[in-house]
């Protein structure tokens, strides 16, 4: 690694385009191998790595920012999935089996199929997912755009986060959004497949998981062993600084249990997690290895989060630069342009992986559970008489991908810049957790699933929670995300339970009379 030097903008752009081109090549190769009957995804390692799409730019940049404000609380977002994967044999395996039998294509499809294939319920889940996940997509665009701006100012550290005078065609977020839309359209909507397996895409996502892990570990190793003399030295120096010492205790931790609960549910309920874990699963036995490989991945990518946060505080002091950019700023401050570029590529990898899978998952939901059921109702379109609808389906999905990314970009432009990465991400977590009661009761409680109809409890539980009403206008929500998520979940579960019981009693009374 060479010290000094400069980092011209063309090199950053070239490296980014080179990386995205490599992704295209890998996805193309994965698709070709699948067509040749030698699929790369028939491998538990690829499956486990693809589930690691859970680690987004939020993990890559935001965890360090979170650690600076909340100490070890950042770990809750990864301990929850570890606990859920311990239950994976009971919960995930059942979901995979149900999905294979019923040809489930998305989480909206899954929830609606548990309640009598209700179109209304599927459409409602889709709308909540699209509205709820929008901030999460804009978070990724924000992370890439702001990391690009930070890197552009090399060797000056502590550059402004985002400039309001960026011309439209010079805006990194717009270009990234356009590239991601192209990737998702090429590899997520190439053809209509009954199983909804996108093998090339999954291969590319698994590759991205490797890149972001290696990038983060190298930055972490450099900070711990290059800037300091190992963990002992780093922690010893941090102990002398009061604002760093408190991060190593429970003092700044406020919402440990709610965050663990929230992340436990979202690792199953986020549309992209459902897509890679359940829909893209080619063989059930791959879950056996993924149950411990995915938590191990989470552990590895988090080992250096606290050291980087402490090193950032020691080096820059509190409040000098945004803690979300420590992963980039520390190599930059040490005159390591190559390392800073690697960190940028790692962050880009984390962001693009999430955006691609999320848009493909949401576009499938919009197409299958929202637009097509509506179109099929219009008799004058004569869709039911047409023999081949695949062209129409692909068109709708491609349009949906462009729409989602455009809205995500607009959200980032209008609202996203005023919030920290983690606050934006938590809003989407709270929204995705809304599906959990409907999903879990639907799987395990016959009383809930058999006696439900489109007007039954899950609808009310999805529609009545305070979180859903407030999500599109998040102003004022950012500080109360966890409380909001907690109350939303409680409200959701209670409404679902009581609604199911009322429904059940009414049915019994009717049958008795």
């Amino acid at each position: 690694m060479t010290g000094g030097g400069s980092l011209p903008a063309w090199l950053i752009v070239l490296a980014s385009f080179g990386y995205v081109s490599l992704l295209f090549a890998i996805a193309y190769w994965g698709d070709r191998r699948a067509r040749a009957g030698r699929p790369l995804v028939a491998n538990p390692w690829i499956y486990a790595l693809s589930i690691a799409v859970y680690c987004t730019a939020w993990t890559f940049y935001g965890s360090v920012g979170r650690a600076v404000s909340g100490g070890i609380e950042f770990l809750t977002i990864y301990l929850g999935p570890t606990l859920m994967f311990a239950l994976g044999w009971v919960v995930l395996r059942k979901m995979i089996r149900i999905s294979k039998v019923n040809h489930i294509t998305s989480i909206a499809d899954f929830v609606s199929s548990r309640y009598g294939k209700s179109h209304l319920l599927g459409g409602l889940v889709t709308i909540i997912a699209v509205v709820g996940i929008m901030p999460y997509i804009s978070l990724q665009l924000k992370a890439v755009a702001s990391s690009f701006i930070v890197l552009m100012h090399y060797p000056q550290v502590g550059a402004p986060q985002a400039s309001s005078v960026v011309p439209l065609f010079g805006d990194t977020a717009l270009w990234i959004a356009a590239l991601m839309a192209l990737f998702a359209i090429l590899f997520g909507t190439r053809h209509i497949d009954a199983t909804e397996h996108h093998q090339g895409l999954v291969t590319a996502i698994a590759f991205e998981s490797v890149v972001k892990l290696i990038a983060f570990l190298i930055v972490g190793l450099f900070v711990t062993y290059g800037m300091f003399d190992g963990f002992g030295d780093l922690f010893a120096q941090a102990r002398a600084l009061p604002e760093a010492a408190r991060l190593m205790t429970m003092e700044p931790v406020t919402d440990w249990v709610p965050f663990i609960l929230l992340s436990m549910l979202t690792v199953v309920c986020l549309p992209r997690q459902f897509q890679v874990t359940v829909v893209e699963n080619v063989e059930e036995r791959h879950l056996n290895k993924a149950l411990w490989l995915f938590p191990l991945y989470l552990l590895l990518i988090n080992i250096f989060v606290l050291p980087i946060a402490l090193a950032g505080l020691l080096h820059f002091g509190a409040g000098f630069i945004d803690a979300d950019t420590f992963v980039l700023a520390l190599p930059m401050a040490q005159q390591q342009p190559a390392l800073a570029l690697l960190a940028f590529i790692g962050g880009l990898s984390a962001a693009t992986g999430m955006v691609i899978v999320e848009t493909v998952a949401l576009s499938t939901m919009i197409c299958n559970d929202l637009v097509m059921p509506m179109l099929l109702r219009f008799a004058w379109l004569h869709l039911a008489e047409r023999r081949d609808l695949s062209g129409l389906l692909l068109g709708i999905r491609r349009g949906a991908i462009c729409f989602i990314l455009l809205i995500g970009y607009l959200y980032f432009q209008l609202i996203g810049e005023s919030y920290a990465l983690v606050s934006i991400g938590l809003m989407s977590f709270a929204a995705a957790a809304q599906f959990a009661p409907a999903l879990i009761f639907g799987m395990y409680w016959k009383g809930a699933s058999r006696r439900s109809s489109p007007a039954s409890p899950p609808v009310s539980c999805c529609g009545r929670t305070p979180c859903c009403r407030r999500l599109p206008v998040p102003a004022g929500c950012n500080t109360a995300s966890s409380t909001q998520g907690r109350s939303a979940l409680r409200c959701c579960s209670l409404t679902h339970c009581s609604g199911s019981m009322v429904w059940r009693r009414r049915r019994m009374r009717c049958s008795g009379a």
């Binding site: 190593m248 440990w256 036995r285």
Partner: protein
């Protein structure tokens, strides 16, 4: 191929062992809930001064508990077959008729 783990998989008793795998994993989940509960964590929260190999005690405990959970899950899952059952049966010879099956 000989498999490790606490629950050795067999083609005959696969279903019974499968349910025991579930039980073991639920027990590991319970252990995780206990280890990551604020109640247990406060025992290890002795300020930044207490360290293990230079790492703060609370942070070292969380990482160790996390690693323990992963190791336990991996150990239990080691008893499950990596290859599909059909392939194992072909390698092991023709399948034996089970209790509910009639030989033709």
């Amino acid at each position: 191929m000989a498999r490790g783990g606490p629950l050795r998989w067999s083609s005959r008793g696969g279903r019974r062992v499968g349910s025991r795998v579930g039980e073991c994993l639920v027990a590991i989940f319970g252990l995780g809930v206990l280890l990551f509960s604020p109640l247990v964590m406060t025992i290890f929260d002795r300020g930044a001064g207490d360290t293990v190999f230079g790492i703060p005690l609370l942070y070292a405990f969380l990482l160790a508990a996390w690693l323990l959970m992963i190791a336990l899950i991996a150990w239990v899952m080691a008893s499950q077959p990596d290859e599909p059952r059909g392939r194992r049966q072909v390698e092991a010879g023709p399948p034996q008729p089970g209790r509910g099956e009639r030989p033709s």
